[in-house]
Amino acid sequence: MKKRKVMMSLMLSAAMLAGMLTGCGNSSAPAATEATTATETTAATDAEEGAAAGAELAYSGEITMMHYSTSEESQGNGGSDGFRTMIANWKEAHPDIDLNETVLANDDYKPQIATLAAAGDLPDVFLLQGMNTKAWAEQGLIMDMTDIIKDSPYYSDYNQAYFTPFTDGDKIYGLPALTGGTCTVVVYDKAAWKEAGFDTFPTTWEDVKKADEYFKANGYTDTIAFGNGSKWQANSCFLSVIGDRFTGPDWFQSIIDKGGAAFTDDEFVQALQFTQDIFASGVFNEDFNAITNEDAREYYISGDAAAFVGGNWDVSYIGATLLETDPDLYANTGFAALPQPEGATGSTNSQNIGLGYAIALNPKLADDPDKLAAAIDLAYYLTGPAFSTYVGENYALAGLTKTANVDLSAFDQYTQDFYDFSYVSTTPCEIYDSYVNSAVWDVVNTEMQSMLNGDTTAQNVAEKAQEAYEANY
């Protein structure tokens, strides 16, 4: 017994000692940097980009940065991959600067950055979510970057519409980062819809209902697959666009500016009512409120549904999967904007697209002009032409900076069609939850899920949204 006790004590002591030694080793280890995978630095354009990142800077020392482009996130996500590649290039070009990165998954990034903001301890450079702009600007947590942006060598190439979520009055607080991808796209099987009598995807919901009858009679389980299990999908991937069709862009701008528009306005209530009616009509899968977009897109991939509504993140997954499992469906897949609801007077082919996050700077950087110059250089580079060229040539995506003559010939039809849908042939509108604040959207999302279940009315949802808006914004 005694022997066993001694053994146990020895084991515990050894484990503790080993642990502590490991710990000491860690604490003296270099700053948190995630190794960049080899594949990320092999693109043909890297050498040029690296050179472009090599502007002379007077500062040498540490710059802290926080973002959510983890190694995992960057796999198949062009924006994340491009972002990580640009960071690696910039670091290589500035060996005297220790860019100390904290990289967390997006779900963890949001509470962590909010805690740091509450504690007044934000890193030097970080990603600002559009909906936090006004509150954080009011609290002096983010630097006014209006002049920095105007002084940018790439200013004339910036897509000015992307700055809206990061603007408060006439001040801009961030350089929109990553890639602008649509949040609402109809992915459909062109061959199936042709058989149903539609050469292209219908432009009215009445036609979708007619097609629904055909599909149900011809072995399809569902006409359009949709997943709202996490509650945000009905808002981000449906209502944002349908709302725009009923209210037009000015109404939402007025909501952002607190200019007198209300969630209880007739046009918005009509958009909610239409959303409730169309989901009750049976054109979507019955379990849309119980499954997520990840499950719903499988209905399309497996051929059970003739179409799917989701965001750009679903398009890349569907493409990669179909290419492997069903090349015919891959070749037959097309993209379309949501059909126009009856009674809606807004744009008929709008789709919500934008950049949800921007590179923001800590105002404390102003105390050290050299450090500030280095941080600005980093922000310019991460959002500049090198990034746009990289994501354009490798993923057919676009960022803040417009690049002339993106050569899409190397991409297949699927990718070219989606690029055309995202950036050329549709009218952009705002992504609701990039603005206002999360307290309001939490209420809208929860209430809307109940509404789609038939448990509450459009008017009630609008009233509750308005209450949350008045209380929190």
Partner: protein, 289 residues
């Protein structure tokens, strides 16, 4: 010798048999509901993401170890470092929780002094105030003291917030031990610390094991402090490392399950090594506590 059963009619015997089958079936169902998630995790870890999304419950058609290979060989996932961080943090925290809990529990149980009640109230607060409301203040204090983002950072709140339950359990256990033991030790010339560590501590071993078990799981699974106080990815613990497989718009569930299985291994090994002690400790703790 076969025991004779009096007053048992064939009808009642049949009834008892049916009842026994039904009860066993119910127990079997409960057991299966406990074990199935683990089995599901295991076979899902052998699926690719696409296959999992297409059929969440079904068995893998082409089982593959790719997820294990990817997780264990990709240095960006720093799974080994996270495991070591969790093991170190948990071992040190639990050691000090049990040690301080025992000493404090003894003092509160046996010695009456001026600050006795104040310590009680402070410990009670540690249990009553929700941890989430303290995250930002603790972050600010730690930041001011320069102890954020260090290898020992998480041990401080883990020990502090683990102490209340440890003290309450140990204190109530010690109250059941007759003071005559300490008096006898004192008469025999045993010093105070000798009595504390050589006489009382061995008697308290069951409840100390109980505390250690509860706190091991609590420290191993803790998420909120780990998220807020640690920024350096090399210092992250297991719960944070597992979260990296959830992206902005979706999650790679087979990878999450693989990571969970890998990170569960130390706890399971520990359970099998100390299962006898743990069960004894749990039972003793339940009765005395």
């Amino acid at each position: 010798m076969k025991k004779k059963q009096y007053g048992m009619t064939p009808g009642r015997s049949f009834g008892n048999g049916v009842m026994s089958v039904v009860l066993n079936l119910i127990m079997l169902l409960f057991s299966a509901s406990c074990i199935f998630p683990l089995v599901w995790m295991f076979y899902s870890s052998l699926k690719e993401k696409r296959q999992f999304n297409a059929d969440i419950i079904g068995l893998p058609k082409n089982p593959t170890l790719n997820n294990y290979i990817r997780i264990l060989t990709n240095p960006d996932y720093h799974m080994g470092e996270s495991l070591m961080n969790s093991i170190r943090t948990t071992l040190v925290s639990v050691f000090f929780i049990v040690l301080f809990g025992f000493i404090l529990g003894y003092f509160l149980s046996r010695i009456r002094f001026a600050g006795n009640k104040l310590i009680w109230v402070m410990l009670l607060m540690g249990m009553l105030i929700p941890v989430h409301s303290l995250l930002v203040p603790i972050y600010v204090v730690f930041n001011g003291m320069g102890v954020n983002d260090k290898w020992f950072t998480l041990m401080i709140p883990y020990i502090a917030f683990g102490l209340p339950i440890a003290v309450f359990l140990i204190q109530s256990f010690i109250q059941e031990i007759p003071t005559a033991l300490e008096e006898a030790a004192s008469i025999d010339g045993c010093s105070f610390s000798g009595t504390l560590f050589k006489i009382i501590m061995p008697i308290c071993r069951p409840v100390m094991v109980t505390v250690a078990v509860i706190q091991t799981f609590s420290c191993w699974n803790e998420f909120s402090f780990a998220l807020v106080l640690i920024k350096n990815v090399r210092l992250q613990t297991v719960p944070l490392a597992v979260k990296q497989f959830s992206g902005q718009f979706g999650s790679d569930y087979p990878k999450i399950m693989t990571a969970l299985l890998i990170t569960m291994a130390p706890i399971i090994i520990m359970y099998f090594c100390f299962s006898k002690q743990i069960i004894k400790g749990m039972v003793a703790g339940a009765v005395k506590g």
